[in-house]
């Protein structure tokens, strides 16, 4: 059973529909006790870091999520979920994150005006450090992105995949039982669904 954290993130139902399609048992919950005891957790996200952190705190979900990480629960962060797990985000005038993984969410900045922000559309994901959740993917497989900030862990060993947009930046990060992707895997066609399947089967 996968529990999807409800903190008003816009892609919550899309994630659920993808899991339903795959026949993966799931529930949506905003109850911190349910999150603490969950078998597996998906931490989705769309929107701004500041208001997301506020909602997490209001619902006591920040502490619940940290606890479930410490208990060893497999957690998958998606999009904003891959940024909020870090120590901080440059968004909304430096927002403190959950600090599960050391690092920061940095804003794209380009001198080249042809590189538009947000980075929106399909881009290839390169595995730089094999991980079970990235299993069955082929070089050149593309995922769907919409974001202006990207996760930048302090240590390179926490980076599992990268993409290229002006420069090479991390798109899959993690540590122990936590794995997080910047792209919208729930909207990335067959390869995105494969990643969700991998997460559902991930044994530590």
């Amino acid at each position: 059973m996968i529990t999807i954290i409800d903190y008003k993130a816009g892609n919550l139902t899309s994630v659920q529909r993808a899991l339903m399609h795959l026949g993966i048992e799931n529930q949506i919950s905003k109850n911190p006790d349910v999150i603490r005891k969950a078998e597996r957790v998906i931490f989705p996200g769309v929107g701004a870091a500041g208001s997301a952190m506020e909602t997490l705190k209001e619902r006591n979900l920040d502490l619940a999520l940290k606890e479930s990480f410490e208990r060893g629960t497999p957690i998958l962060g998606i999009c904003l979920g891959s940024q909020i797990i870090l120590s901080m985000s440059e968004e909304d005038g430096n927002t403190l994150g959950l600090g599960i993984l050391s690092g920061r969410a940095s804003k794209f900045q380009f001198a080249d005006e042809t590189l538009k922000i947000p980075h929106m559309g399909w881009n290839a994901v390169k595995v730089v450090n094999p991980h079970p959740v990235l299993g069955h993917l082929n070089p050149g497989d593309e995922f769907y992105f919409v974001h202006s900030y990207y996760p930048q862990p302090e240590s390179a060993e926490n980076v599992f995949a990268t993409s290229e947009y002006g420069f090479e930046f991390p798109v899959a990060v993690g540590m122990d039982n936590l794995f997080a992707v910047q792209f919208h895997t729930e909207k990335s066609g067959p390869v995105g669904l494969q990643l969700l399947k991998n997460f559902a089967k991930w044994r530590l």
Binding site: G10, S14, H21, M120, G121, W122, N123, S188, G192
Partner: protein, 258 residues
Amino acid sequence: MLSKRIISCLDVRDGKLAKSVKFVDTIDIGDPVVQAKKYYEEGLDELVFYDITASSDKRNIMLDVVNAVAEQVFIPFSVGGGLRTVEDCSRVLLAGAEKINVNSAAVRRPELIREAAEAFGSQAVVLSMDILRVDPAPGLESGYEIVIEGGRRRMGLDAIEWAKRGEELGAGELVINSIDADGTKEGYEITLTRMVSEVVSIPVIASGGGGTPEHLYDVLTKGKADAALVASMLHYDEYSIDEIKDYLIERGIKIRKV
């Protein structure tokens, strides 16, 4: 590097698929959910649904279509047609769309763009523009004018100015739909698409006139579009998604292949 996107547009009336030719005659050509699923499986990058239902009491049929699409199609899609308020937009997004598409309602009340961008983020707001080629005149210096009501009503608004304004108000993407090219299959309006691409810094989607893969190549290169919308080329099985994509890849365009 981002791939250029191939997007298909499905016009939906009373829950059924229709394709307009020069916005006048429309004919029913099938079930939008079945069609959307087929395109998804064949490797399309994104979908747009325009609700062209005339009577407002049948509008909820569209929400059922959106729900059914979201259960089976795992690529981004947007929905437009008849969205006048943030509440209208919210219903469509909750039903499973990633983006909302505003057109006439935003021309009449530009604040709708700002309100939607504040409520859902710019990434969820697509501004569609129906554009007619006209003789340049004071206030219409570019020679391109915004029209509404399916092209019937000229608004005296310069298309290039409206594109810039749309971006300022918070639109995250622009659809540039040429009324002159729509349904002709003679190629996209390259000049217009390039003019808009050069003045905004958000993605530009070219629409209207695509008849061959070469037309897509032209608008993605000379027209500087980030994405191209295809309709009848696909709807009438003239080309497959693979044929279009293979052609573009062959000519050096970065395209996603499934």
